[in-house]
Amino acid sequence: MTTSSAGNEPTASAVARAAGDVVTAAPISFHGVGRAFGTGDSVRPVLRDIDLDVAAGEIVAILGPSGCGKSTLLRIAGGLDRPSDGVVAIDGSVVAPFDARSAVGFQEPRLLPWRTIAGNIALGLPRGTARDAGRAHVARLLELVGLADFAEHRPREVSGGMAQRTSLARALARNPAVLLLDEPFGALDALTRLKMQDLLLDVHAAEPTTVLLVTHDVDEALQLADRVILLGNDGDRPGARIQHTVVVPGTRPRDRGSAELAELRGRLLDGLGIDRHGSARGVAATTTIPHYPY
């Protein structure tokens, strides 16, 4: 796998083709989704009244302050967690536990320590992939995320950012109808982050899959997404819901310096700020009943 030459640089479409049976993107919809943790008196709503329709092939970025429930929403979408209220459906049918139509790139790399980087990526291959096809696909993904020279290393022998790229490659290996990415570029340095964002867009262009992308980074959201949703608390009731939906203008790749994006960026940053202000007001309005049993 280390015998790479500049001549046969893998392209995203080659990766898509290598996957064989090309899975088509599927729409995913959330209807009245809510999630509360705890039982009895200590029930704590985290999400409520989430209504969202994501079209097949669309990229939606999810923004929101830390702890507002972004990961929870993504886990529900992937069938890793069940909503307390409402339903999530992929292509019209309700999401099953550990739904095979979606692939998750977790917030933590979650690599198997006893497997090599290549072996960890192979874990993402759809069940029943032929051995040779699988190996070739993994090799291409390794090149794509820039880890070809580290194929035989163990996770403990690579950096955090490399582990995260491995995790991203593992999710891509699945060739899913819905790709769920939880801060996939969080541990990357600025340059690698830009490269990986472009890589994601390349893969998406070669084979449009529906992408839900959680991020902390407003610029990243604007660069990658067709739509950005902002999760946050209103203040009057516990539980985050969609505060703003922003349709990002223009087609990708977007000019990172455009004035239009700069304006949207300001609005979204405001949104994150207004959210903090709003919840402060909420606390003031209900001084006698603190609604978070923190």
Partner: protein, 325 residues
């Protein structure tokens, strides 16, 4: 991949197509390692990367890789470990020789090393030494094999299945609470004084460490890894072989090590009480006849055999840790 290959690989990293990716992460080393804050795998150590997948035993924090040509510390050297480990036994032997021949202690209390050696030669000439060692070792291995196999099976059921835990754990816990020697009269009544009763007692001794440790280890497999495994389509057997089994391999091996020690313990218990052969029998018989030289011989043999079998598992453990951890 040989070391030379690894070196060329590393050298080529900057020339390959993925230079853009490889460069910032590997070449600046710690400079960009802040990026690793979320990853469990720590910081970049470029000098360790080439070939480190093959190199030394896992988890050994040797300051310098052996390939760098630097001096290895004394305590990491093989000959030093062997000499260091033999130091105290040799000193004990010398002290024993000095004290026993000095007349300070009567030889009926402390035989000389020579007397013990002669006792060994005497028993060997009568064909008893080999027989006793063989029969005791056989009992230990049989009992250990049955006990450990059952321990693995029950540990797996209790550790993997909630229902198995609910149904089996309390009963097994109660059985474990019975002091081992309490089984002896019952086993002798049921299985008579033969091989069966001894092997079963040893199996009981080997069963519990394996069962307890394996069940606990399986229960505590990293939930995040399990969830990731499930999210990527692993279920049942495939989840077990891909995630759970590799995760518990180190615990399983230390459990086996413990079980083996326990098996020798129970061997002596079984042979002390009812037997006509074996090292335990040699102990009681010599005690009854006042043959202190043979008592010493039996104890030394138990120490050596126990250490030897433990080292065997230890070798297996080192291989497994390198392979799985």
């Amino acid at each position: 991949m040989s070391k030379a290959d690894a070196a060329t690989t590393a050298a080529r990293a900057s020339a390959s197509v993925d230079r853009e990716f490889a460069a910032p992460v590997t070449q600046d080393g710690l400079g960009v390692a802040v990026a690793g804050q979320l990853g469990p795998s720590g910081v970049d150590r470029p000098e360790r990367l080439p070939g480190s997948g093959i190199g030394g035993p896992a988890g050994e924090g040797t300051a310098l890789p052996a390939s760098s040509g630097g001096r290895r510390r004394l305590v990491d050297r093989r000959w030093f470990r062997i000499v260091g480990g033999a130091l105290i036994p040799v000193a004990l032997l010398v002290a024993w020789q000095l004290v026993s021949t000095s007349g300070l202690v009567p030889v009926s209390m402390l035989p000389t090393p020579e007397m013990v050696w002669l006792a060994a030669v005497d028993l060997a000439e009568r064909g008893l030494l080999g027989l006793y060692v063989a029969i005791s070792t056989q009992r230990v291995f049989l009992g250990f094999a049955f006990g450990a196999a059952l321990g693995l099976a029950f540990g797996a059921v209790v550790g993997l299945s909630k229902l198995g835990d609910i149904l089996l754990a309390p009963t097994l816990g109660a059985i474990r609470a019975v002091p081992s020697l309490a089984w002896v009269p019952l086993l002798i009544l049921w299985f008579k004084i033969g091989e069966d009763s001894k092997v079963i007692l040893i199996a009981i001794g080997a069963f519990f460490p394996v069962y307890t440790i394996v069940a606990a280890a399986l229960r505590h497999v990293d939930r995040q890894l399990l969830e990731a495994g499930r999210a990527f389509g692993l279920r049942g057997l495939s989840l077990f072989t891909t995630v759970q089994l590799p995760a518990v391999v180190p615990s399983v091996i230390s459990a086996l090590r413990l079980a083996l020690a326990q098996a020798w313990l129970f061997l002596v218990a079984a042979e002390l009480i009812a037997s006509s052969m074996g090292l335990g029998f040699l102990l009681v018989d010599s005690g009854n006849n006042g043959r202190i030289d043979r008592i010493f011989l039996a104890i030394i043999l138990l120490a050596v055999l126990g250490k030897l079998t433990d080292s065997l598992v230890g070798l297996f453990e080192r291989w497994a840790v390198r392979r799985w951890a």
